[in-house]
Symmetry: C3
Subunit: 163 residues, 3 copies
């Protein structure tokens, strides 16, 4: 049983190393081949998809995190529109959310999981829902949209033996 | 043409048997390797995804059904939060819905397709939307969140030759 | 560097040709094998999924476009319901939206990306959100739900050298 328990940890580390290689390959492809504007510090899930129809419209700023299954769109077939969609610095774009063409997400904003963002978002906002609405304004976050108390919360969980 | 029509039925049966094997393998992996708390009677789609970042926070009760592309989340990077998300017994979690970290879905509740559930849901509720809202309360459902009239409705369709 | 730049264009053309073959194969499978009612002029993304549980309930009219990850549903397990879901002619069904069982989308309507359409939509409407609401009525669109000004918008972008 003890061996059985150790196995996933080793396995997960290998998966993490492989994931890192794949994320870097995807970033290289998006930036060098497709011409997207992704800061080298941007982190994203492998399942996040940036619009390949008008790739030069995709902009993501430094220390922003794009979570699983996010879709950043830069074109709209119904209107013949090909435009620029911008995510600022220190943002967190929650899993499975969609950023519609032409939207700008201000620096230090957090988009809740599953949101559909149809309008631009001022810096330091939390938005969520479909259509996304502003839930909080004037927030202060650190790199990757992390709230200042996040490290303390996580450390407490580790101390309790929960992580 | 007759042969042509029989082919999908045979094919579908083989696919169903294969699906059963894969679902059981996935359940075993989630429970034995990852440490999730899934009752052995839980049914889920192969495309449903339970949070692998904090797997011991995932709880799904007896005779609940988790449909296609559902995401059950137990962590929030922005807040450093790793917590418990609970789905009761006899629930139906509709396709492509997301259950956010910390949410509890009461026994015998139904979550509509595509919902994003941000708050806990009392037993016997129907919720839907993003953010999900309560549409009905005090409902009575059977195993897998099935309404009592469902069997009669389905039988009538079979009699009409529609199924 | 020049060669490097030409590569994606050649690559994309091959991908487009391959995509065409795959779309036609998928259409043939859906119509001939599964018995869905898709007009031969319907265009759809390879990631769009039409309900395989009750395939004969799927109807999509001439010159309609079904974008990425759309899900058209014709059954509801909780109610034992297997029914007909109809998309009219000249519609555009935006990426990742879900059309729930029994819904009818009128001719020349546009469904915004990420919508969950729970009620029938009159012809010539724009709907979006979860649940989807009517944003505009009485619109006039051309084939594939394209607005009349779309061609001019696109041509202007080409002239500016943006496309």
């Amino acid at each position: 049983m003890a061996e059985y328990k150790k196995a996933p940890a080793r396995g997960l580390n290998r998966i993490k190393a492989l994931r890192r290689v794949l994320v870097n390959a995807k970033r290289l492809f998006y930036v060098r081949v497709m011409g997207m504007d992704l800061h080298p510090t941007v982190e994203f899930s492998l399942s996040a998809k940036f619009d390949m129809t008008y790739p030069k419209g995709v902009h993501v700023g430094a220390h922003s995190y794009v979570a699983f299954e996010v879709k950043i769109l830069t074109h709209d077939r119904t209107r013949g529109l090909y435009t620029h969609t911008r995510i600022g610095e220190n943002c967190f774009i929650g899993g499975r959310s969609m950023i519609l063409p032409g939207v700008e997400i201000g620096d230090g904003s957090v988009v809740g999981a599953g949101s559909v963002v149809t309008k631009s978002v001022p810096p330091g906002s939390v938005v969520a829902g479909n259509p996304a609405k502003i839930l909080r304004s004037g927030i202060k976050v650190e790199a990757y949209g992390r709230f200042p108390e996040a490290d303390a919360t996580e450390s407490a969980l580790v101390e309790q033996g929960d992580l």
